[in-house]
Structures are given as structure tokens and as C-alpha cells.
Symmetry: C2
Subunit: 260 residues, 2 copies
């Protein structure tokens, strides 16, 4: 199976894109709702949780891992690649590639959790691939709780989005990376506040396309993946709020299976 | 030692009150920052974490446990009392007693996390002790992240507080229980928005007073408690944001020791 993990339910935006791009394969998702959120925790703690999540997914039969959490990808992707002999995909590389392609003026904004922004990974990867680009990052720690409350169109959310985006607007970014898998749910609020002409990048489609290309090029591995059967959504805790966000992301009810 | 635990740093408002009321005793605090927050998780998960936290504190030599987290107290206090043969204090009973004493008209509002409000524990305990009282509860899940961001006086925080309090204002409560240890940090915002004549109850002083009375009445146990030596503050994760809130609560730097 294709194994996907996230700190909670935000990574389901990635799972959904993969499900749409690669409907023939079976997915197993793990959301660490018992320890969510990751984005305000230390890199060391996030790395430990990420290893545990990968081991859970390998135990479920995953042959490919997708890190559908920017905070985990920021601090742990390289360590996971060293530790586990399976292909590891994550949300940052495709976002970086797309942002560079989209940016005409080389002024790229990145919004994410505190852990993601502190890691400096977007800046490092963008500059390594395109050193003419300038990268401006802002941590937006309140956006995850606002999304999790379902406050997607409230006045307070709009004000908070505007406040977070103000320094990026001032820097006149031409491209904005949504560096957290919750943020696509706020895209309709973010786009008008950063400016209609700014390209807003959500990496889930690009990640799914990369994964499809990889499987086309690796038929032996692709042949090992399960086909048919329903996709499995596991969570280390199950709450009503999480079930509601899953419904919103997929547009259909998702059965969250408790791992506990 | 007197052992205190919380999901994170909010419980330090309780630790500080105990430190001031009982300066002769040594405290050991544990904040579960690696798994914070508890208030949006299931009762089952919160109860499991609470047991683990008590075991950590007993291992550090605690002879008394203080549950300085309303979410944990709501779902786990009774189970902890059954499971461990030590006195267990918590933040709800003193808040209930004080609210009943303060309420002239018997109209009591309670604000707390989703877990606390869902448990119905404030309502049950207030009505059991004073069945003429009416209790109106509102879950305020965004207040903890706002406090943790240090957004204590921002316009957005004021708007969100006003929105959460609106149904309680409409019910004309005469007393308001701050049913989460983070909320005392927002008291200056809450008081004018709920109304100057409404009594706002923060249980930490009352809890510390109860603990002092208990130790006066149990000199054998009191004699077993450590005196002198610095108080110990442990956390399962250590972040800059947590260190900043600790500084704000105590008015002095607090060394957070990683339990990792």
C-alpha cells in the first residue's frame, strides 16, 4: 500500500489528491491526532513521532511513505530516508519546484507552522535550486486551530490571515507557498488578501503527479502495491471535530479507525 | 514533594498559587508539552495521559498529586483516585465551591475546553451541591492557542472572547468560572466583556487554600514532604513559546527540564 502520515487530519488534503491521481492503488493513512499538532513542538520530538508513524505504516504493509505534514517533512524527511529502505515522498520538494516555476520575479513567500519556518527548509531548498530567488517566510501558528474549529470564513479568521500576510504583501511576493496541509482549506481567504495576481501554491497535486511518474518508472515496485479494497484511515485518537474536517476535505464521510 | 501536572504550561498558574500559599514545601511540576493540548482530544486519550503523568510524578517522589488541568480533571480525576493511593487534588472542586458561594442569583457560566465542557462535570457538580443553580457552559477551543501565542491583548483575541461570551451574556450569568488554567491570563479581557458585575472565578487560589488546610489537618503526611531545595519544572518537550509563557506566569525565568 501507499502509506501516508500527518500530525492529524490536514494531511488528508494530500491523501485526497493521491486518491484522485492514482485511484488504482490502495492507501493507508495515519493521523496522529493523539499528539497533534506537531507544528509548535521541537524538531527532536517531531522527528521521534515521525519515525513511530513510519513504523506503524510499514507494519500495515506500506511500500512507499508519503510525509503529508510540512512540519514533519521539514525536520525529519532526510533522517527518515536514512533510516528506512523505502521511497519517501514529502510535501516540500514538489512545492519548491512549483514555486520556482511559477515565480516570475523570484519573490517567493512561504507560510507555515513555527517548526516549518524555524527549520528554514523552504528557503534552503528554493535558494539551492534557484539562487536568484528571494524567500520570505512567516509562521502562522493560529491557522491550524482556526481550520480545526471550522472557522473557515469568519471575520476573525480573515483578520488573522490579513495580519499574518501583511509582511509578505509588503515584500511584494509574486508567489506564495501554502507550507502546511491545513492551509488549502483557507485558500479562498488567502488569495484575495495576498493579492489576485500572486500565485498560491498548494503542493498536494504536484506531489501526487510526482508519485504517479515514479510508479510509472518503477513498475516492479508498482506491481507490489495493493490494488482494490477500500483505503484505510487510521488515527491515534478519534474526535468529532476531526471527523468533521475529514468530511469537509473528502466531501464524503471517512471512517477513522482508532489505532489505540 | 507536591506533584503537579498539566497538559502544558497553563497549569503553572496553579503551581504559582501553590508556591505562594505554601512556600515551605517543594514542588515538582510536569507539563506534557509533547502531547499538548489535551482539551480537544478524547476522554479516553486524556485519561491515559493522566495516568502516565501521575506515574512520572510518583517516580519523582510526589506524595500528593495536583491535577492542574481542567480537561484532565474532568475526565480522569475519579479514575486516578481509584488507581493511586495518594491524595489527589484538582482544579474543579474548588472552582465549584467558590462559584456557588459567589453566585447571588444562581446563574453560573462556565468556559473551558471542548473536553471539559463535553464532560458536563461542572454542571453535575454545581447542581449536586446547589440544585437551585443554573449552569451555562461554552467551549472556547481557540483561547488556549491564543494564549500560547501571547496574543493576550490583540483585537482578534478580544473579538473571539466576545463571540464566545455572547451566549453567556445573553443568559445573564452572575458568575463565570474560568474552567481552564490558561484563561486567567485573559482575565483582563474577559471581565469587561462578560460585565463588570459578574464574578469571575479562577480556582487556583482556592485550590492552594484547600491544600494548605489539608496539610494542616494531616501533619504526618505534611512531615513527609520535602522542604527547601528548588522547585522542579519538567516538560516532555521544551519550546521557546513555552518558556515565554512560563516567564509571563511566574514573572521570572523558569528552567524547563526535558524529560525526554
Amino acid at each position: 500500500m501507499i502509506g501516508i502520515f500527518d500530525s492529524g487530519v490536514g494531511g488528508m488534503t494530500v491523501a485526497r489528491a493521491i486518491e484522485q491521481a492514482l485511484p488504482q492503488y490502495r492507501l493507508v493513512y495515519f493521523g496522529d491526532l493523539a499528539r497533534t499538532p506537531y507544528g509548535s513542538k521541537s524538531g527532536e520530538t517531531i522527528a521521534r513521532y515521525s519515525r513511530e508513524n513510519v513504523e506503524f505504516l510499514l507494519g500495515q504493509g506500506a511500500k512507499i511513505i508519503v510525509v503529508a505534514c510540512n512540519s514533519a517533512a521539514s525536520v525529519a524527511a532526510d533522517r527518515l530516508r536514512t533510516a528506512y529502505p523505502v521511497p519517501i515522498f514529502e510535501v516540500i520538494a514538489p512545492a519548491v519546484a512549483e514555486a520556482i516555476k511559477a515565480s516570475g520575479g523570484g519573490r517567493i513567500g512561504v507560510i507555515g507552522t513555527r517548526a516549518t519556518v524555524k527549520s528554514g527548509v523552504y528557503e534552503a531548498k528554493i535558494r539551492a535550486a534557484a539562487d536568484h530567488c528571494r524567500v520570505f517566510s512567516v509562521a502562522c501558528p493560529l491557522l491550524v486551530p482556526l481550520v480545526e474549529e471550522g472557522w473557515l470564513a469568519r471575520r476573525e479568521t480573515k483578520m488573522i490571515v490579513r495580519r499574518y500576510l501583511a509582511p509578505l504583501k509588503e515584500k511584494q511576493v509574486d508567489t506564495l507557498v501554502l507550507g502546511c496541509t491545513h492551509y488549502p482549506l483557507l485558500k479562498d481567504l488567502i488569495q484575495p488578501r495576498i493579492g489576485r495576481r500572486v500565485r498560491v501554491i498548494d503542493s498536494s497535486q504536484a506531489l501526487a503527479a510526482d508519485l504517479r511518474t515514479f510508479l510509472d518508472e518503477n513498475p516492479a515496485l508498482a506491481a507490489e502495491l495493493s490494488r482494490g479494497g477500500e483505503n484505510l484511515y487510521y488515527a491515534s485518537d478519534v474526535t468529532e471535530a476531526a471527523t468533521m474536517i475529514a468530511l469537509r476535505i473528502f466531501g464524503r464521510p471517512i471512517e477513522l479507525r482508532h489505532t489505540g
